[in-house]
């Protein structure tokens, strides 16, 4: 009753090809943006900004990047954190070495560097498939982190290998408090999510999906496999690179290459799977789930009053068990649950 397409006629091609064809969706998205941009900054505390919302948004952006590669183009990657590291360190170096570099341009250039690295390490995907590819993307992960640690130029000869990200300043406005940083991250993420949503329903997005579903068949009907796969790697790495730069500039502040380790890659892959493969909305839901779950668990376990050594292991166990449980109950992710919910709402409250 509340959510239904019936009666929403599309009379022009322009109407037919809009992003959110259903009025309720448009209202919901607009409401969500208003809440995110206006309501949350008015009420949230600094802890909520820097402890939950900023990491959530940044990781959601990285998840979106990996989702483009894994969910839409079907190439499994375990090297997401490496692309984030490239983005972060490239942005840092652009800011450091080019006087008067605008920070947003540095983020974009960082993303482009990550995209170039992504294309380079995406080349094997033309030959290798499935788990062989997944295991080989670990090469990216280890090689990039090693490179950033070993070559002092990347960290500006810092003896400990730790860099301190520069002050974020746009047109003379300094982003200092968590609230301001949150708004910056939110704006970047919103724009890039919109771009992604449009990209996946364009020619290039459709070619990714064709390659994912069966690359030989896609080739036969005339898609250029090489172009599709490499653009997927490039776009995905670009997103991850920008996310990595935001991670350094707006979240951590001081970063070492080890912050972008294999664990982070796995966490982002979890977000993609739990959120739902091949879904923009799913990327956000998955990121929210994986960011909130450990916080929630540590609060719950804290109240049991067990010693610290027990609780940390218990947390690990519950986290693992919950992930398995979740995969068993809903292997298509949270986005699928949302779909089911919408189907139900279509008939509710008169299901017959």
């Amino acid at each position: 009753m509340i959510y239904r397409e019936a009666g929403q006629y599309k009379t022009t091609y322009l109407n037919d090809s809009q992003i959110f064809p259903i009025a309720q969706d448009r209202v919901a998205v607009a409401l969500l943006l208003v809440v995110a941009f206006v309501a949350i900054p008015l009420f949230a505390t600094p802890y909520i900004f820097s402890g939950i919302l900023i990491p959530f948004l940044i990781l959601a952006l990285a998840t979106l990047g990996l989702n483009i590669l894994t969910g839409y183009a079907g190439q499994i990657s375990l090297g997401t954190a490496a692309f984030m590291a490239v983005g972060a360190f490239a942005s840092y170096n652009f800011m450091l070495r080019v006087p008067g570099m605008p920070v947003l341009l540095a983020f974009v250039l960082g993303g482009i560097c990550a995209a170039l690295v992504g294309i380079l390490f995406g080349l094997p995907s033309l030959r290798i498939r499935g788990f062989y590819l997944a295991a080989s993307t670990l090469a990216t992960q280890f090689f990039v982190v090693w490179c950033l640690t070993k070559v002092p130029w990347f960290t500006n000869n810092s003896s400990s290998g730790v860099i301190t990200a520069q002050q974020v300043e746009i047109l003379g406005f300094k982003f200092e408090t968590p609230q301001q940083k949150y708004l910056l991250v939110l704006a970047v993420v919103a724009v890039m999510a919109l771009l992604a949503k449009n990209m996946v329903r364009s020619t290039v997005g459709r070619s990714w999906m064709a390659v994912r579903d069966m690359d030989v068949a896609a080739e036969v009907i005339g898609f250029r496999i090489m172009k599709s796969k490499l653009t997927a790697f490039a776009v995905s790495s670009f997103y991850c690179g920008v996310a990595g730069a935001l991670y350094a500039f707006c979240y951590l502040g001081t970063v070492e290459p080890e912050a972008y380790n294999l664990d982070l890659s796995f966490r982002i892959l979890f977000m993609v799977i739990i959120g739902g493969l091949g879904s923009i909305l799913g990327s956000f839901l998955g990121a929210g789930f994986i960011v909130l779950l450990p916080i929630f668990l540590s609060v719950v376990v804290h109240y049991t009053g067990l010693p610290n050594s027990v609780t940390s292991n218990l947390e690990l166990m519950v986290f693992g068990a919950l992930i398995i449980f979740f995969l068993i109950v809903e292997p298509h992710g949270l986005a699928r649950l949302w779909q089911i919910g919408k189907e139900k709402l279509r008939l509710w409250p008169f299901p017959h």
Partner: protein, 301 residues
């Protein structure tokens, strides 16, 4: 001569450490072959097995030869439990879902192991001395550890046993049938779940052997879980589905890794053993996308 001997020493010690990688890779291959699951939890199982053995000797004060059978039983039970509670509900899901489930399993096993047995680093004494063989040291001046040789011997015995199990027994025939085609195997009356249970139990046993050897070499500690990452390049080099591939891949990776460490490492600042095997395996895959002995992938539209 001196240079050649040095080369030989590095090569041999590399080959022998490669055997240790193969041991971990074997567990992966076994499970992948029979159930198509890329079991990332193998490293955690290695850790769990070693910790269980040490924990049992500590808690109950029993000697090692009593603790090992107990650990074998526990590992077999763990394998059966994983099959029943994780894989069976996930039958017919896409590969990546199963892979993520095994990563979840990794967290679970790591937490469980440390919860039950504590997280301190502990030594494990198997009674095999980790000293250079004197005869070789005298004659040729080469450091080859006796421990490595014994480990290689154990690995050889294990592989022979596995090959016999696969080729000469009824269970082995069922395993090969399931590996070839799940549905066809089911239709001729092979109990799929029993077979998978057996495979996971055997993989648990292999994890125990690997855990004992690695644990007595490096101490039983959390870092044992990272041996899984050492085994992955071995797998992609040798092919996911091939037992000989795991062995040959392990030898190649072990040897080239040590050689690269000694001859290339100093030129670029060291620490290359983390990524060198991966890059090597990756370059190799560009030539043969299914690994050295992997089944050729034929795809139809």
């Amino acid at each position: 001569m001196e240079i050649f001997l040095r080369f030989l020493e590095v090569l041999i010690s590399g080959l022998l450490s490669g055997v240790m990688y193969s041991l971990v890779a074997l567990g992966f291959v076994l499970i992948y072959k029979a159930s198509g699951v890329f079991n990332f939890a193998q490293g955690a199982m290695v850790f769990f097995a070693a910790l269980t053995t040490v924990g049992v000797t500590e808690k109950f004060g029993v000697p090692l030869w009593v603790a090992i059978p107990i650990a074998i039983v526990i590992m077999a039970l763990l394998g059966l439990a994983i099959e029943k509670f994780v894989l069976r509900p996930l039958v017919n899901q896409p590969d990546i879902t199963l892979f993520m489930a095994t990563i979840g399993l990794t967290f679970f096993i790591e937490g469980l192991a440390q919860l039950v047995w504590g997280s301190t680093v502990r030594p494990l004494e198997l009674g095999i001395p980790d000293v250079p063989i004197e005869w070789l040291l005298d004659k040729a001046g080469m450091f080859i550890s006796f421990f490595d040789l014994v480990a290689a011997g154990i690995c050889a015995v294990l592989v022979t046993a596995l090959v016999l199990l696969f080729n000469k027994t009824k269970i082995g025939r069922a395993l090969r049938a399931v590996a070839d085609d799940h549905q066809a195997a089911l239709s001729v009356g092979i109990p799929l779940h029993h077979v998978w249970g057996i495979v996971w139990a055997v993989a648990g046993f292999i994890a125990l052997v690997a855990g004992l050897l690695w644990g007595s070499r490096n101490g039983v500690q959390f870092a044992l879980t990272f041996v899984a990452l050492k085994a992955l390049p071995v797998l992609i080099l040798g092919g996911f589905t091939s037992v000989p591939g795991a062995i040959v891949g392990g030898l190649i990776i072990g040897a080239t890794e040590k050689l690269a460490e000694v001859y290339i490492g100093p030129l670029v600042g060291g620490g290359i053993e983390g990524w060198f095997p991966y890059v090597l395996a990756l370059l190799f895959l560009l030539v043969r996308p299914e690994g050295l002995f992997g089944e050729k992938i034929i795809r139809r539209i």
